[in-house]
């Protein structure tokens, strides 16, 4: 799936990954790929602008930490981010359920 198709959905997906715990950029992209069974195989670099946007919006925080002996910028979900994720989940459930109902194949 291209980054174009993920437009508008990348940020909540990143929030969902950070819900499991703090992570640095490479690990977030790795989780995104593995949790989607390889479907979300977008250019890895496109996740960083999204992370920066989320940080500016206050939904994630970040700081440099030592991971496995190497210094990396680690991102964490903030309280505001948890609330934003809850809201996006609710909206998505309603939206996807409505789309599924409309797209459902009717018996001939």
């Amino acid at each position: 799936m291209s980054s174009e198709q993920l437009k508008g959905h990348l940020e909540p997906l990143v929030l969902a990954i950070l819900e499991d715990g703090p992570a640095y950029g490479y690990a977030i992209i790795d989780s995104l790929r593995s949790r989607s069974d390889g479907v979300f195989d977008l250019p890895e670099g496109t996740v960083y602008p999204a992370l920066h946007r989320l940080e500016r919006a206050g939904t994630v925080t970040s700081r440099r930490e030592v991971i496995n002996g190497r210094e990396r910028r680690v991102y964490r979900l903030s309280t505001k981010g948890r609330a934003a994720l809850r809201e996006r989940r609710t909206n998505w459930t309603q939206f996807s359920s409505a789309v599924s109902q409309v797209l459902r194949v009717r018996p001939a």
Binding site: K7, E11, Y26, G45, P49, R73
Partner: protein
Amino acid sequence: MTGVERYIADLGSRLNVGSRGRARILTEVADHLDDAIGQRVQSGQPRDHAETEALDAFGSPHLIARQFNAEAGARAMRRAPVFTVAAGFAVFTGFVVAGTTQPRSATPTNAALATQMAFFVSVLAFQVAFVAGTCAASRALSVWRASESRGADRQFVRHCAVISTGALGVAAAGWATTMGLAVSDFADPNRGTLLLGGIVMVCSAGIAIALTLGLQVNPADVEGNAPDESSGLFGIGERVIGCVRRHPVGSCTIVAALSMVPAMSHAETTIAGALPWGLLQAATVVLGFIVLGPQLGLRRTNRA
């Protein structure tokens, strides 16, 4: 120079985000590529191959830089109306501070032609600044909460903000000149306040012009950026301009009528004296925006 170093240098040359932001981005990208290559080497790939694959997977420097630039441009766009509003407020305050302390003569006399001209130009410039500032704020607010903004919107806001602060500069300089011409007597006890007002006006407008010109809104769009039409309350400025462009005569009449109200409030002004002033002022403002509208990229509303 390794492939990663070349990539980082290429990305760095394309980023237009400020020195701190650039350093942070490049460090993060270098860290990421280091991890990506390390993992591939651990799984048995030769280093050269791992590096090429990691760089391909990361995306082209052009694509990544555009996304960061668009984000930085959106932040710059949000600052533009803040500068114009703050400068407008400072110039107006400076004018009020200086103007209210000027002694009023018991027997009003007509000011010198140079003073009248400077004042007239200042008032017009302030009106241009107000409308252009409103357009900038209107468009910026309409996309304020959107996670992404169109390059055309960012460019439009910057254009309006530059025109607004430039016009504020003209207004400030004109009013400062008016005050300078009015205070020919250096023994005037209010000269300190007049001086202060003039300095506040000119300095605040000058700072705002410099800040606005320095804004990098990076108008190049990220591919596939969805158009986000200005709508609701915050699109009202553009609707007003669209209306002025469709009905220039009617708009001119309304502005002329509104212009005469303050003119008529002075006891010494008659209808005959106020009418040409109001008409000239209204015609100049309306004509200015009919001419400037397309340059600013003002869109007509659907009914246009």
